[in-house]
Each structure stands twice: as structure tokens, then as C-alpha cells.
Point group: C2
Chain length 212, copies 2
């Protein structure tokens, strides 16, 4: 139990905050002659102390995590990796495998991106499937730094949306151009969906300013 | 010289990347009976090996840095601090002062935010003023970690814009709703203005996908 709490704290340092954070998930493809892996950007949801994935039917990650128990979340500030893995299959030589030894079970080999700065290894703890959605409760089982120079990087669309809203609000105050207000209103949804409690508070400051 | 290069590398770790990064700048207000400070979010521009500020006439930061030689850039992932300092004056008890000793000169006291995770102290090296704009070339003189648990956090609107563009492109591919293409086109300007070389490359991947 203590170990789980420590791992969660370590994962938070690597960028796994409250709200929805954006990661490149690496999963094992179905066993063929050789092991192969898939990478794709996915949001990890952390809410009320639980960590989970919401995967839509049809993606490779959906297929793989319906079957595989282990996967990795990769941390990087390299946006090229996000764009490439979102829209293309990465070559197998971009992956390496981390060994994980569950208690009284054969060792697992979990794919990670060689270029990632850090990786968090996860286990799927519980699955709920509806017609088009697979919700998986997950738990971190290990955190590894691969590049000591860049040990953490949070990608939270809610944090980013607050920064954008501040920029728009500043410009609105200078120009009184109401197009900026539309932009701020559009950002609200992302802050409330992906942001941390603190980001929602920050957004309230902007809204109050707008009203006052 | 070597020291300058080392300081730049350290500042980069704290989030001062190529492109435009967003910081809370803390500056000294004009001398009254007591020292007081101002905080405001400002972009720091790093391009072709030079670091500079572009300040518009009328802001407190403009006034203060026209006169003062030293200031600090504060790192935090707390968006409330951004919103508060963008639109309100922070209480003086939110600041503390770091001493800096220039060669053969009296010691300087530079205001920083108590709540910042890290701070970079800067010196204004060169000023160019036009009718409405003050462009200051700046150089880091010291980097300090205030919260060892959170030693770095990059806020680069270009990085964020690439992530948003990936999200919109993924949704466009699912829905074929052309509203997503408009959003991607709007993000391009931010990527090219604030992003790093790598972020522009990432955006090209998305544009190619859109065209192909």
C-alpha cells in the first residue's frame, strides 16, 4: 500500500497530475513471430484518487489493452514524437523493452520509446467495456528516468488553456475586441475537463475580471 | 564566457527554451520609503542565441525595466499565480529578495516570488527603445531552485499549440468536420511565433497529413 502511494507521488513528479494529462502510450501488439509495439498519444485521467484510461473502439491502443496487462506512458517535450505517433506507425527500432517481474509470475517485457525522457510502467487493474468504450483503471508499477537532464514534463491541456485565456484576456483589455471573449469561453471547457483544481481556480480569476 | 554558457544551459533546464516561453517577471518598483515589487506574466524570447524582452509602453514592467538593471523570471506550474499577477497587484508579502553581488558594485536585492519553484535572475545588458516598444537584451546571472520537488516547468505556447493541433487533427479524421481545420490553421501562427524548431517540424507533420 505504502509502495503504491510512493509510486503515485513519483508519477506525479513525472507529470501525472490531477485532471487529464497527455502521454504517449506504448503497448504490445498481438503476439506474432516477433514482439512488436505500438505508440499513440492518449490522455490519462486522474480523478478522486483513481487513475484511468478511456479508450474508444477501433484504435490500436484499444485492441492492445483489451488483451495486454502491462503498458508504459512516455514523457517527452518533443512534440514531433506526439505528431508522429498520433498519425503514423513508429518503426520497431524506436522501441526498447523494460523488464518487469510480477510476483510469482513470468517476467514481462514492456515496450517504451527509446527517445522518451522518462517512462512510467502501468498495470491494468480493472476493465469496464461498453459498446464503444473501454474504461481501464490503471496503477503505476514503476517510474524510470531515461534522460537525467529532462526528468519531468507535464502536458496538461487545462494548464495550457489557462495560459491562453490569460493572453486573450490581456488582449481583450487592450483592444476591447469581443472575439477574445469568445476564445476565452471556448477554453473554459478544456480547463474544466482537463485542468487541476488550481487551474479551475485560475480560470475563475479571469472570469471574475471579465465580469467585473 | 564559459560561465555564461553554463548559466544558459541551466536556464534551459528551468524552462528557458528556444522560441518564446512564458514567465512571471518580478521587478523592483521605483524607490519610495520602502522597497516594493511588481509581478506580471511576460514572454521571454530566445532566438539566434540571444535572449530578449519586448515590453509595450504603459505596463509596470516596462516602467520598471527602463530603470532597473536586475529582475527575476519565476517558474511555477501554478496557473493561479499567472492569472493573479496578470490582472492584479500582488501583496508585498508574496515577494522575497535575493541578494546578488555584481563585481566591484554594491549588492543588489532582486525580488522573487516566494511561491515560485525556481527563479532565474537576469541582468539587462542592452536596451533599444522605439515610440511604443522597449526591447531589452538580457542575460541570466543566476539560477536557483526554491522547491526541489518541482525543479522545472516549461510554458511554451508553441508546444501547447502542437498538442492542441494533434487533438483537433485526430478529431477531424474521425468526424471530417472542417471546423477542426480552421482551428488547426489558427494554431499555426502560435507554433511559428512561440515554438521551438522541433515544434515547427511537428506542425509540418500535421499539415502534411492534412494535405495527404
Amino acid at each position: 500500500m505504502e509502495n503504491g502511494t510512493l509510486l503515485k507521488a513519483k508519477a506525479e513528479k513525472f507529470g501525472l497530475t490531477e485532471g487529464i494529462t497527455e502521454w504517449i502510450l506504448t503497448t504490445k501488439n498481438a503476439a506474432g513471430e516477433e514482439i512488436s509495439a505500438n505508440a499513440a498519444p492518449i490522455g490519462i485521467i486522474q480523478k478522486n484518487g483513481k487513475i484511468c484510461l478511456r479508450l474508444f473502439k477501433g484504435s490500436k491502443t484499444f485492441e492492445n489493452l483489451r488483451r495486454e496487462e502491462y503498458f508504459a506512458a512516455n514523457v517527452t517535450d518533443d512534440t514531433v514524437l506526439y505528431a508522429e505517433s498520433a498519425f503514423y506507425d513508429l518503426d520497431e527500432n524506436r522501441f526498447e523493452y523494460r523488464e518487469y517481474q510480477p510476483q510469482a509470475m513470468p517476467a514481462e517485457r514492456i515496450p517504451v520509446l527509446k527517445e522518451a525522457d522518462c517512462v512510467i510502467l502501468f498495470r491494468c487493474a480493472d476493465r469496464n467495456e461498453t459498446n464503444e468504450l473501454l474504461i481501464i483503471e490503471i496503477e503505476p508499477i514503476d517510474c524510470m528516468i531515461q534522460n537525467a537532464d529532462k526528468p519531468g514534463f507535464v502536458i496538461n491541456r487545462g494548464i495550457n488553456a489557462v495560459i491562453e485565456a490569460c493572453v486573450h484576456m490581456t488582449r481583450y483589455e487592450l483592444t476591447k475586441d469581443r472575439a477574445y471573449i469568445d476564445k476565452i469561453n471556448q477554453l473554459q471547457e478544456i480547463v474544466f475537463k482537463c485542468g487541476r483544481k488550481r487551474d479551475r481556480e485560475a480560470f475563475e480569476i479571469i472570469m471574475k475580471r471579465l465580469q467585473g
